[in-house]
């Protein structure tokens, strides 16, 4: 610690009713450093950063930036002090251009008005005129300086997610920040885009900008940070040099116990098909075809992993096989029963379980109690009084308590009083998974089950899925996380633009090739050397899909 820290946060304390979100946290960042801020959901990372960005006021503690004590009352104060933040959810207006988005909120008069006016007119001009030429030039310069490929005149909606994120970073750079906070920046990016982001961040750090990188992905800490601070339950566990620690050490600091990275996957006898979908086609709201004839067979005791970059039809595929919405073409059979066009209720009754990608929108009713949410699929069952006039709320409560207990959902004192919206992301996901698994489904469709979930919960969720596989459930696992797909699946399909373009097994998976197929960079061709079972299966479905993928190119 030779160099004096650029940012010092001392004894930051913040309490919310009933919770200590930050318990006297010390945190410091040096100039030109990429500093990871690691912790599970609810560990207090966001609170600490919101205090630094002026969104929350701390109950105690001081913030020093470059030797000056800061008193931040709003994000504007933080920006004035040279602190910028890129939020996880972009704050951009799609219809406006890059420049317009960047200057939004800045008052800068058009160039030709700038010089000669009296003070009153200047005020008016700065309030009402919009000069975009100079900002556009400056943005172009900044983009060039840091190697961003962003056209200042492009509209936001024309940009892909990675570019949009660079616009967010430009927004901060435009305001001359010396300290940049990135809140889980890779959550929305593909692996390749994340790679590019890392390169950009390194450039920024070289220029002397201090970067705080919030994440709960250990891999990213390894990849990019110089030092890392770990928070757990509101308190600081420690700050370490990234080079000195292993992933296992960090995970243990984060969770407070040893974490298993290698999942035990026992061989399971694969049974008859539970799901047979043939030639599925679907369109999205804009009437664009998002599924272009997909065949998918899932057998009892088999996990079929579907890898792909978000937006290539996974969402629609998951919804179709879970019974939400009807395909424009194709058939869906469950355990030999044709359920094409059947209501969601029939799919539920045929023991299909679904863990949707958007937890808050489709997975739960945030305002209702944990009890309601735990029982939303099973309340019609006989044990809750299906043959009596009234619903047995006592039994519903007991059932919910069982789920909370067995799946270790934390933060639930009373299942009737705590609402689903009160739970943290990981605990809510555990509750949803508990609901979907505890009914012992024949088919489990899980779309991004571990996205935005902390390490401890991820481990638990993955184990639960594997356990369910051993009980003979067919599982469709959709994920952008290739590691997850490889760890859990028995068979891997890669989806690109609504078609399966590549099929492989975890043993044979060539990561580069899978990664390439995900981005449409390679015509699909499966290599030889499969065992007989796989070959046979490929002939029934995956192979066909791969053929079409090749034809389409």
């Amino acid at each position: 610690m030779t160099e004096a820290p650029f940012l010092r946060m001392e004894e930051i304390h913040k309490e919310f009713p009933g919770v200590v979100a930050n318990d006297r946290v010390d945190f410091s960042v040096r100039r030109g450093e990429i500093h990871g801020l690691l912790g599970e959901n609810g560990a207090g990372k966001s609170t600490l950063m919101k205090i630094l960005y002026g969104l929350y006021s701390p109950d105690g503690g001081d913030i020093w930036l470059d030797g000056t004590r800061l008193d931040l009352e709003s994000p504007q104060d933080a920006i004035d002090a040279g602190i910028g933040m890129v939020h996880q959810h972009f704050m951009l207006i799609p219809r406006l251009s890059v420049t317009e988005n960047v200057v939004l909120g800045e008052r800068e008069p058009a160039g030709r008005f700038r010089t000669s006016m009296g003070s009153l007119l200047d005020g008016l001009v700065s309030r009402f005129s919009l000069g975009l030429e100079e900002p556009a030039d400056r943005i172009r310069d900044l983009a060039g300086q840091y190697g961003f490929d962003v056209d200042p005149t492009a509209k936001i909606w024309q940009l892909d997610v990675g570019q949009q994120q660079r616009v967010e970073i430009l927004k901060a750079l435009y305001r001359d920040v010396d300290l940049l906070i990135l809140d889980e920046p890779t959550a929305v990016l593909t692996p390749n885009e994340a790679e590019r982001l890392f390169e950009s961040l390194e450039r920024l750090a070289e220029e002397g900008i201090a970067i705080i990188f919030i994440t709960h992905k250990l891999k990213e800490i390894d990849a990019i940070t110089d030092r890392v601070t770990v928070l757990r339950e509101g308190a600081k566990v420690g700050t370490v040099d990234t080079a000195d620690v292993t992933r296992e050490d960090l995970a243990e600091m984060m969770v407070g116990r040893e974490v298993l990275f290698d999942l035990e996957k026992d061989p399971v006898e694969i049974g008859d098909p539970v799901l047979q979908a043939r030639g599925l086609r679907a369109r999205d709201q804009r009437d664009i075809e998002v599924l272009a004839g997909v065949d998918l067979t899932v057998r009892a005791g088999e996990v079929v992993g579907i890898a792909g970059v978000s937006g290539n039809g996974q969402k629609q595929l998951a919804e179709l096989v879970a019974g939400l919405g009807d395909p424009t073409d194709g058939t869906i059979e469950l355990m030999g029963t044709d359920l094409t066009g059947a209501s969601p209720r029939e799919f539920v009754d045929h023991d299909v379980s679904f863990v949707p990608e958007d937890r808050l929108r489709y997975g739960c009713a945030a305002d209702l109690s944990v009890m309601h949410n735990a029982t939303m699929k099973d309340f019609r069952q006989a044990r809750f009084g299906a043959n009596r006039p009234f619903l047995d709320y006592g039994e519903l409560r007991e059932y919910a308590e069982t789920l909370v207990e067995e799946f270790d959902v934390r933060g639930v004192q009373d299942v009737r009083a705590v609402t689903a919206g009160d739970l943290s992301g990981g605990n809510l996901q555990k509750l949803i998974l508990a609901r979907e698994i505890y009914r012992d489904p024949d088919l489990l469709v899980a779309n991004q089950p571990t996205r935005g979930v902390d390490v401890g919960a991820i481990e638990f969720i993955r184990e639960s899925i594997l356990e369910q596989r051993e009980r003979g459930t067919g599982v469709v696992l959709i994920s952008e996380d290739l590691d997850e797909i490889v760890d859990l699946s028995d068979r891997i399909l890669v989806i690109y633009e609504g078609e399966f373009v590549h099929e492989t097994t975890p043993e044979e998976a060539d990561r580069e090739r899978v990664g390439l197929a995900m981005t449409g960079g390679e015509a699909a061709a499966t290599d030889g050397g499969r065992d007989p079972i796989d070959a046979g299966r490929a002939a029934t479905d995956g192979g066909g899909a791969a053929d079409r993928g090749a034809d389409g190119r």
Binding site: G363, C364, A386
Partner: protein
């Protein structure tokens, strides 16, 4: 110096606040209204004692309040139940009028003893009003057409339909007044144990009970609550939004229809063309105040009946203009709704020194 207002959500609402707020706010509203009363040289204490104390101590006042409460509670339920499923029934007034007309028609054209005729009238009223409410529900469930607009517009259709029917085919009685013939004795709702209150009050109480049981005890109620909270998650769980939307509107419409016929057969005795009581609109406020439970709707309905009846007696006893009683009623409603906010949020107001060093950038004009 700056005026600093800090608003924070309350984690727990203390019990004294839950029960105290309505009382405090009503007192505050009355205090504000007192200014107007003093300006008219009426003693506020005297006015309020007529409005409240005399109304609830006098048997006649109690009877009037209960009679007034019947349509208010029923239409309140008609708004409340769809609200539980996340829908707004703004058209309870139209449903009430259609129910009144259908019930009146049954009462005038069917000859049966009272114990058969009255249930038949209520049935007819409920069916007509339920149908009227089912149309917007179907449009909403099937085509996602905003039910606020359709229910409101159908109210105007109902009002004009009523004007036509009462001046045209259903016109009756002596002369050519725009009204129906008088309902026969068998079609009048009997008085309850000579208290001056008609038996419609029992209907209202039973329907409060039905709504409570439906929402708190049944699978349907569970589904209604779920659809109201997040209809997309409910669909995913296999619940039918279509079914729930139709059900709450059909039942809500039926409640409003009962309100209509109980008012005609219990009080008016015949349907006059001028019958536009506005209960269906007051019901929106009642449902909002009582949105936490069917029993609260009952209480809110009774309270509104009280201020209506009390307001009228104040007008009569002290010669206060009707407009002013309406002002008082409106102020009470406004204060009550505002109080909901203070119940859930803690607001602290204080003066603090302006420490900001950037007033120039805030105004821009001094640059």
């Amino acid at each position: 110096m700056n005026l600093a207002v800090d608003v924070q959500a309350r984690e727990n609402v203390p019990p004294w606040l839950v029960y105290g707020t309505p009382v405090f706010t009503v007192i505050a509203a009355l205090a504000v209204s007192a200014v107007a009363l003093v300006a008219l040289e009426v003693s506020p204490i005297e006015a309020y004692s007529v409005m409240f104390v005399e109304t609830v101590t006098d048997p006649f006042g109690i009877a009037e309040t209960l009679k007034k409460a019947v349509p208010l509670v029923l239409t309140g339920l008609a708004v409340y139940l769809p609200l539980k499923a996340g829908l707004w029934n703004i058209g309870a007034e139209g449903q009430l009028i259609l129910g009144g007309i259908a019930g009146t028609w049954v009462g005038l054209n069917v000859s049966l003893p009272w114990f058969a005729l009255l249930p038949l009238m209520f049935l007819g009223a409920s069916l007509a009003a339920a149908f009227w409410a089912a149309v917007p529900a179907w449009l909403r469930a099937k085509w996602d057409i905003n039910e606020i607009i359709t229910t409101l517009l159908l109210t105007f259709v109902a009002l004009n339909l009523k004007n036509y029917l009462i001046r045209g085919p259903m016109q009756g009685g002596t002369g050519t007044f725009p009204q129906t013939a008088r309902l026969p004795e068998a079609a009048r709702i009997p008085e309850l144990f000579s208290t001056g209150v008609h038996a419609g009050v029992l209907v209202a109480l039973v329907m409060v009970g039905v709504t409570w049981v439906l929402l708190q005890k049944t699978r349907l109620g569970y589904e209604i609550t779920f659809v109201g909270s997040n209809h997309e998650a409910a669909t995913q769980a296999g619940m039918s939004k279509y079914k729930v939307y139709l059900l709450v509107f059909v039942l809500g419409g039926a409640f409003a229809g009962m309100a209509g016929i109980s008012e005609i057969a219990g009080i008016q005795g015949r349907f006059r063309a001028g019958f536009e009581p506005g209960y269906g609109f007051t019901a929106i406020v009642i449902a909002l105040l009582g949105r936490n439970g069917a029993l609260k709707v009952l209480l809110a309905g009774l309270f509104f009946a009280l201020i209506t009846v009390g307001g009228t007696s104040m007008e009569v006893a002290l010669g206060i203009p009707a407009a002013l009683t309406e002002v008082i009623q409106a102020l009470i409603i406004l204060f009550l709704i505002t109080a909901e906010f203070f119940k859930n949020y803690r607001v602290s107001v204080g003066l603090e020194r302006d420490t900001s060093s950037t007033p120039a950038s805030a105004t821009g004009g001094d640059a």
